[in-house]
């Protein structure tokens, strides 16, 4: 098996002594894969995401990002250059109110020359569907556009992995769709690996693989069709299946349909009409 984009082994973390916020978490993410991590509040999703970006010190276990050990202080900046992170609230990520200045912040920190950083910022903005936005004011943008600027700010440094930590939870459905389209475009064009921490089950249904977290542990991991159709599993993790799955199970109980539940609208249409 080749090198993994993210490789976590036996990761444990406790913010307070005696508590277990992460318990023996192991996870592999293949290069180019889109993995959704779902779980209720306090299940350890964000803690795991921050470990992948070396934002909190590893207490126990091992995490490697494209072979880079996140616990090695000498590799911290290389890890962060390799793995970018987009946070929940776009407004709390901006260091400048001018889009171009903000997007160029990462490359400049990683040692790029001013001219190269500007070029990387322009390319990253084009990649997220916001070409020519360099001189715009971030406060004049919609929530979806702001989050895409935040994504561009990460992309400008050329990461091979992007971790999105509940990046759609503070934006409207249209903004969510815009962000999802931008992430899909980036994956297609750059082959970037994506780890998407989310509560949004419709979004998780579009991932290559879903990881369910419960009380600091990985409760299940697998294809969306297997994981998201399992009502008992999701209920145990404090989650609700996607609307499509719930509708399918209702129809199944009414005797109208049979077979494995689809997890996306396209899958539902195909199952009903195909």
């Amino acid at each position: 098996m080749g090198e993994m984009a993210v490789e976590a082994r036996g990761v444990c973390h406790a913010y307070v002594p005696g508590r277990q916020d992460l318990r023996d978490v192991s996870l592999d993410v293949a290069p180019g894969e889109l993995v959704a991590i779902v779980g209720e509040n306090g299940s350890g999703k964000t803690t795991l995401a921050r470990h992948i970006n070396a934002l909190i010190p590893l207490q126990e276990g091992e995490i490697r990002v494209f072979g880079l050990d996140v616990s090695d202080p000498a590799l911290v900046w290389e890890v962060r250059r390799t793995c970018g992170m987009v946070f929940q609230n776009p407004e709390n990520q901006f260091v400048s109110s001018v889009v171009g200045e903000d997007v160029a912040f990462g490359p400049l920190n990683f040692g790029a020359a001013e001219k190269d950083a500007r070029a990387a910022a322009a390319a990253a903005l084009a990649a997220v569907g916001l070409p020519g936005f360099e001189r715009r004011d971030v406060h004049g943008l919609s929530g979806g556009q702001q989050q895409r600027v935040a994504l561009a700010g990460v992309l400008a440094s050329g990461p091979r992995v992007i971790v999105l930590d509940e990046a759609t939870s503070m934006i409207d459905p249209r903004g969510r769709d815009e962000l999802m389209a931008a992430v899909s475009r980036v994956r297609r064009e750059r082959g970037t690996t994506v780890v998407w921490v989310t509560h949004d089950m419709e979004l998780a249904a579009r991932a290559d693989r879903v990881v369910v977290m419960r009380a600091g542990e990985v409760a299940a991991a697998g294809a969306p069709e297997d994981v998201l159709a399992d009502e008992a599993l999701l209920e145990g993790a404090g989650l609700e299946p996607p609307l499509v799955v719930r509708a399918w199970h209702e129809l199944e109980r009414a005797g109208a349909v049979r077979g494995p539940a689809p997890v996306t609208v396209e899958g539902l249409v195909s199952a009903l009409c195909g």
Binding site: R50, R80, F87, N92, Q93, V95, S96, V98
Partner: protein
């Protein structure tokens, strides 16, 4: 048109002037305000500031907006000075409070000085885009970097502060609306109750500002920001990972 961060879109000599020059001019004007003590000197500085407002083309209303927001504070300053500045030749005495001509004159002086500084600051932000302001601060502080002053970090701190102003203002308005819904309008209360209402707003605004600053510091670190080498060496690598 008024933009975020107080910037007013217009074409004027002040808008075209470099941010560094404007910052230096602000420092000079504030020095003049502080040094002016006689009524004539204060009047001359007032005339200078009025000329700058006219030159900036931002409009008198925009220039006075921040000062108007301070009206209750300034009134309190005037009253406190008028009644507690001294006890010689009082016009009226009520308990420990003595209304004196010298006190009233001192109150007017303090209020006028404060107003002038506020209007000057408003003029700076109304005619300078946030990024230009950061660049101006950076240019002004650059010579100090030679003696170890963290000029880059200071410029970034100014930029981030300016960047957060519209967000915190919006949040303040939301909190005020929420308080109005639950407790009635803040403006309709008597002065003391109004003061208590404003104090109640300060706590959540303060907490929110700290939370936002914390989230921003994590986001900045994730994007490769690190302290200047001298601080890093002092703090150690492990500390960096915690920041």
């Amino acid at each position: 048109m008024r933009g975020v961060s107080g910037y007013v879109w217009a074409d004027s000599p002040l808008h075209r002037m470099g941010a560094g020059a404007k910052l230096a001019g602000l420092v000079a004007c504030v020095a003049l305000v502080v040094l002016a003590s006689s009524p004539l000197e204060l009047l001359l500085v007032c005339a200078l500031v009025a000329a700058l407002v006219a030159l900036s083309r931002v409009g008198w209303r925009s220039a006075a907006r921040s000062a108007w927001g301070l009206r209750w504070f300034l009134l309190a300053v005037l009253v406190m000075n008028a009644f507690f500045f001294g006890a010689e030749d009082p016009v009226i005495s009520v308990g420990p409070a003595h209304l004196t001509v010298a006190g009233a004159a001192q109150g007017v002086r303090v209020v006028v000085r404060t107003l002038l500084v506020v209007v000057l600051g408003t003029l700076l932000t109304a005619t300078t885009r946030p990024q230009e302001l950061i660049d101006g601060v950076r240019a002004l502080l650059r010579p100090l970097a030679r003696v170890g002053f963290p000029a880059e970090a200071a410029a970034l701190a100014v930029g981030v502060t300016v960047q957060f102003v519209p967000t915190l203002l919006r949040e303040s308005r939301q909190l005020m609306r929420a308080q109005t819904i639950r407790c009635g309008t803040v403006v309709s209360h008597a002065i003391m109750r109004r003061a208590v209402s404003y104090m109640r707003l300060l706590v959540p605004i303060f907490v929110s500002a700290i939370r936002r600053a914390d989230e921003l510091s994590v986001a900045m670190e994730a994007r490769g920001y690190r302290l200047p080498p001298s601080r890093r060496a002092a703090d150690g690598g492990e500390r960096e990972m915690h920041a």
